[in-house]
Amino acid sequence: MDRLSFLRKPFFWIIIAVAAAFVVLPLWHNDVALRESLILAAVYIILASNLNLMIGYAGYVNFGSIVFFGLGGYIGVFLIIDYGMQPFLAALAAGVVVSALALVLGLGILRLHGFYFALATIGVNQAVQSFVSNFTPWGGASGIYISMSAYQLLGGPMKALWTIYFLMVGVMAVSLLLSYAIKTSKFGLGLLAIGQNESAAGVLGVPTPLYKAMAYSVSAFLPAVAGCLYFFKSAFIQPVDAFDLSFSTEAVVMVMLGGQGTIAGPAIGAFLYEELRGWLLTSATFSNFQLVIAGAILLVIVTFAPGGVMGFIHRYLPKSRKFLQ
């Protein structure tokens, strides 16, 4: 196997093509509405595919994955506003800090299994949310507002929105490639083994505590980067939005809808969910039914089709396994 063998895999090129489509489509007619819809889809795809590293690969349900996104947003926005740091540098810094915090935290809470871990992730998110709500340097409960002048760092507000969009699409592509790279690596194999049977994996020599904490930490990096970009774009950040538990539970729905443990699945689930959500919000009859429909979909999937969309595709088109993973 030479080092560039991934260039011969069709799936690699599918990821690149999707990212290219995200870049080209809104540019085509300078379509700002489409760009706004796609940036949301990109955020969902980033959250879902990184969450999938924990749920789908390692078999640990993280209900509070939004804490990475929110904390990344806060750290990034703080660096941009108070230190005038370039947004992409701030985003990277936010990613590194959150990822390091997650590694330390992960070594602690990943000693818990199953339900206990799921409860702890909710607790972590709520603890951070209530801490930030009381933390005056970050504006407490009212949050941080970003003045228009901050966008001069990216050459004015209009240009900044496009730049952030392209950066977000880049992060999305990296998320998918990361999922792919991990799945085909020794690390990924270890995680999948942990997901199947943790004790057996440990006996066979997988360093389970380290691998789990690493997975937790890796799954924190890109959401934190995306959080910084997203909240810089929104021009304000508040604890209520940044650590919105329902957002991260919706991410769980996306992962399940697309198919946990696959690479394309969470992305498909996230995209479908975003489209559905957009449609429901604009439709007159169903505008309040977003959660009801999300719940109903989740119940049907969990009960009758735990494999999600990818489970269906793989069952009825077995050949698709070769290029769609």
Binding site: F115, A120, G123, A127, N134, F289, A294, I297, V302
Partner: protein, 288 residues
């Protein structure tokens, strides 16, 4: 000093109600190893059931506690058949997700019907004054009713055939099945009881504090904290955990802004979960 004691005593009264809610959560976990994520939604359902029924019939909210329990039991059995029954014997993720799905549907419907307005149950109960401090009547009444319901629950679990069957299934489902206990029905019964406890405690909380459709999330988290303090699957521990949480809140209130208490609660929660995953008050001996 007396002010602090009064604050602690009030915290204990409220904490006992949190304890009852957590007993519902922990009962379900103990019997079938399922974390009921509809818990918060059912607490809110109890709040609204009490509000609507007492408003509609024009009677005292406390007269509605029993009907709310019955409604909660029915709803619990329904939720069991809808979302939990098929998840038995499947990975824990599945029952978490299926009860969470029902929770989303309930919250969505609730928001559609009632919006996110603040509701208030009107109760006029005289408070009890003691050395210059007045304990609200609603808090005393809620704690008293919690005591009564807890005693009834323990009698039910210890003395009746159904209660013994629940304990048998919690101990060993296969063995219970072998000696002729209809385990599926017992599981539905236990789930119904757990949800009924959530509804009743929700109803009692509604007499003390205003509420919205979305209040459930906060109380569900409190139940998690309490359950973890008491040890998952241990009802007596849950009650003690509730009282401990009330103590913590009562103790913290005079010393710091109210908004900081939740920081402390969740930090305690995560630390206890990591350091004592079997709880602080786990006296019961369970075969590992």
């Amino acid at each position: 000093m007396l002010g602090i004691l009064a604050s602690i005593a009030d915290g204990l009264l409220i904490g006992s109600v949190y304890g009852m809610a957590a007993m519902g959560l922990t009962l379900i976990w103990g019997v079938m190893n399922v974390i009921n994520l509809t818990h918060g939604a059912m607490i809110v359902a109890g709040m609204f059931a009490m509000y609507l029924i007492s408003d509609w019939l024009g009677i005292s909210p406390y007269a509605v506690v029993a009907p709310v329990a019955v409604i909660g039991f029915g709803a619990g059995v329904l939720i069991y058949w809808l979302s939990v029954h098929r998840m038995m014997g499947r990975p824990p993720l599945m029952s978490l997700l299926s009860t969470f799905a029902v929770n989303l549907v309930l919250i969505g419907l609730g928001t559609d019907v009632w919006g996110t307005e603040l509701f208030n149950v009107q109760v006029s109960l005289p408070g009890l004054s003691f050395a210059g401090y007045t304990f609200p009547g609603t808090h005393l009444m809620a704690a008293a009713l919690t005591g009564v319901i807890t005693v009834l629950l323990f009698l039910f679990m210890q003395k009746t055939r159904a209660g013994k069957a629940i304990r048998a299934v919690a101990g060993n489902r296969e063995a219970a099945e072998l000696v002729g206990i209809p385990t599926t029905r017992v599981l539905a019964l236990a789930f119904g009881l757990g949800v009924a406890l959530a509804c009743v405690s929700g109803a009692l909380i509604a007499t003390m504090f205003p509420f919205t459709v979305l209040s459930g999330g906060a109380y569900q988290l409190k139940s998690f904290v309490v359950t973890v303090l008491g040890g998952l699957g241990n009802p007596a521990g849950a009650l003690l955990g509730g009282v401990a949480l009330g103590l913590l809140e009562g103790l913290a209130t005079p010393f710091m802004p109210v908004s900081w208490t939740s920081v402390i609660e969740f930090v305690v929660f995560v630390i206890v979960l990591i350091a004592f995953p079997r709880g602080l008050f786990n006296f019961t001996f369970r075969r590992s």
